[in-house]
């Protein structure tokens, strides 16, 4: 299988009409390379948009630079997601869609995570508050931990969900367990158990919970990971 991203060529419909005239960001790429050197990996132009690969260790620094530097001003975080390819050799990529509202510019920043290492990335919660639920969803669906996130719990599945991370390629479409087992586990999850420890401490009710519920909450609750 060839490299995951190439410039669009030989497309079925013939020539490509760019969606946004300012899609490509060559000056930004040049400025990034000047500022960060080796931490910037390859950059690609696909379907009229620029993608830059950055090293994980300096990713937070690079994203902060992109947000604050005059001339870049990527003040709007459009999306955070992750991609796992069908080829198991390829790394998982964490994808940041950035936008500069003033300059009407888009940029896609990717961090490639080797699957043999723990999947961890620094959070950008101090830069864009909008990343809160986006990072939680990536954690839920892919198992990628965002270091420094204030409340990294599962978002879409219930907190004590035991089957795994659904959007991984080794997770089958129907899940690992049988339907009866899934039903049993779902019905066994008491709605009160979906209160986080934080919420229960508000209500001062934590100490009144039965021991096994406290156990389960302790297993499912994530809290801050630093």
């Amino acid at each position: 299988m060839s490299a995951p991203v190439q410039a669009a060529a030989a497309s079925p419909g013939g020539h490509y009409v760019p969606h946004a005239p300012q899609g490509a960001q060559p000056e930004t790429v040049a400025a990034l390379r000047a500022a960060f050197g080796d931490a910037i990996g390859r950059d690609v132009l696909v379907c009229g948009e620029t993608i830059v690969y950055v090293a994980r260790e300096r990713a937070h620094e690079i994203l902060a630079w992109l947000q604050t530097t005059p001339g870049q001003e990527f003040d709007y975080l459009t999306d955070i997601t992750a991609v796992e390819y069908r080829d198991p050799e390829l790394p998982i990529e964490v994808v940041y869609q950035l936008r500069s509202l003033a300059r009407r510019a888009d940029l896609r920043v990717k961090i490639a995570l080797d699957k043999t290492q723990p999947l961890e990335v620094d959070t950008v919660w101090d830069l864009w508050k909008g990343c809160d639920w986006l990072e939680r969803e990536v954690y839920d669906m892919f198992g990628i931990v965002f270091r420094g996130h204030p409340d990294l719990r599962r978002l879409l599945m219930w907190e004590t969900y035991a089957e795994g991370h659904p959007l991984r390629k080794d997770f089958p479409l129907r899940g690992h367990f049988s339907r009866a087992e899934q039903t049993r586990q779902a019905l066994a999850a008491q709605p009160e158990a979906h209160y986080s420890l934080e919420e229960l401490s508000i209500a001062d009710a934590y100490h009144e919970l039965p021991a096994d519920m406290r156990e389960r909450l302790l297993k499912g609750e994530r809290g801050t990971l630093t």
Partner: protein
């Protein structure tokens, strides 16, 4: 648009504005009423406890299966913790097992209040990935689909927000108008709510006889209904009292929280994907984009109401354009993408082979990826495709405007009253199918 947008301002008896420019609200706190121990004051122990209240997931006012956990001090919300995922359907996982055209029916069911707009967004994202340029008639029809969706989505928002704040009648008016659009959608595609109107490279079908006349009739009478709603709400003291100054997001906060759509514009940020990154020929249409100032619920209401007037305007212009494109093709002329008509497929060997290949093997885009955002009624809906050259995407990501807007709810509810939480939740205009996907 500056402060002329606000026609009526209620003089609130408040201490004034805080340093961020927001109105300081004086909630009925316990501690500042009277000296402890004095007559009429609460006991320290009695009033100091914070209460944990759970709203949902089954609740008439949460607009779907949303669960809010509130920490209350008296009637004031100290913290609001939303829980979502009660409608998680695994769309993105399903998309990896479907051809691109087979994903289109899935998009009806994410934002089911504006299904045609989702279909259009997906087809456009796939066409961007494949480098396809659609025909002009297809563009005009897709604009019609998007603006009809905008109207029906905002009408649901209007009706349900009215109910949440105590006004039941506009709900019935709104749904009556929606039925007229539903008739048109049903005539075009056969389904009221799950149209699946687009295909990659074109549309499911052309509009039938009588569609244009029906839509013209709608555009003629719809503004009068909006005028009635305007009369009901805009200068209504109860409405103003419940919506002005409530749930404020400043412009900087709105950008930082990645809000989009009417939420962003009501906070004063003039960003609309149709104007800033025009698609489907939107640069040729003459329409305004309302931008608010104060970022409260009232401004969001004004923005959405005005957007409906503007959508009506766009529909009229689109109909004029459509009249000039009678008989033009709606599908791109590429047999690798579009199914040939049945008469040709049955009689011509080459067409039959193309038909077979498109149906059995799907349309294969090149290796690559594409992100496309469109201006959905709820905000910027983005579709991100990653392709490895096969007919099924490696990754299909929906950038959900409703979820990202909803994530700002705890911020907006800080310091609000309990009944304000319901109003703020209504003003975010969420649809849980999109929040949870």
């Amino acid at each position: 648009m500056s402060s002329t947008l606000r026609t009526v301002e209620m003089a609130l008896a408040t201490p004034g504005l805080d340093e961020q420019g927001r109105v300081v609200r004086q909630p009925l706190g316990v501690a500042d009423r009277a000296e402890p121990g004095a007559e009429g004051s609460y006991d320290e122990g009695f009033g100091a406890e914070h209460m944990l209240v759970n709203i949902g997931p089954q609740h008439p006012a949460t607009h779907g299966v949303l669960r809010l956990v509130l920490e209350l001090e008296g009637e004031t919300v100290k913290r609001c913790i939303p829980h979502i995922g009660y409608l998680h359907t695994g769309f993105e996982k399903l998309g990896e097992y479907r051809f691109y055209n087979q994903i289109i029916p899935l998009t009806d069911r994410t934002d089911y209040l504006a299904p045609m707009a989702n279909n259009v967004g997906l087809a456009m994202a796939a066409e961007k990935l494949m480098g396809i340029r659609i025909t002009e008639r297809c563009q005009v029809l897709r604009v019609i689909a998007c603006e009809m969706s905008r109207i029906i989505s905002h009408l649901v928002w209007l009706g349900t927000t009215g109910i949440d704040l105590g006004a039941y009648t506009p709900f019935l008016w709104a749904f009556q108008q929606r039925e007229r659009i539903y008739n048109l959608q049903e005539a075009w595609t056969g389904a009221r709510l799950t149209p699946s109107v687009t295909r990659v490279g074109g549309l499911m079908a052309d509009v039938p006889e009588g569609f244009e006349a029906g839509l013209r009739d709608f555009t003629r009478t719809f503004p009068k209904v909006l005028d009635e709603v305007d009369t009901m709400f805009t200068r209504n003291a109860i409405w103003i009292g419940r919506t002005q100054g409530v749930g404020v997001m400043t412009a900087q906060e709105a950008i930082n929280y990645s809000l989009s759509g009417p939420m962003l514009r009501a906070s004063g940020v003039a960003y609309d994907v149709r104007k800033d990154r025009p698609y489907l020929g939107y640069e040729e249409y003459d329409f305004d984009v309302p931008v608010g100032e104060y970022g409260d619920i009232y401004d969001r209401y004004r923005v959405r109401l005005e957007e409906m007037y503007q959508s009506n305007r766009i529909l009229e212009q689109a109909l004029d354009k459509l009249a000039k494109l009678q008989g033009a093709p709606i599908n791109v002329d590429d047999p690798r993408v579009i199914l040939p008509p049945k008469s040709k497929a049955m009689n011509d060997m080459e067409s039959m082979i193309h038909h077979f290949k498109v149906v059995m093997e799907g349309v294969k885009p090149p290796v690559g990826e594409a992100y496309l955002g469109i201006e959905n009624p709820k905000g910027e809906l983005g579709y991100y495709f990653v392709s490895d050259g096969t007919a099924k995407p490696v990754r299909w990501r929906i950038r959900p405007p409703a979820m990202i807007n909803l994530a700002a709810l705890p911020k907006m509810c800080e310091g609000a009253l309990l009944s304000d939480v319901i109003a703020i939740n209504a003003s975010v205009d969420i649809v849980m199918g999109e929040v949870d996907r």
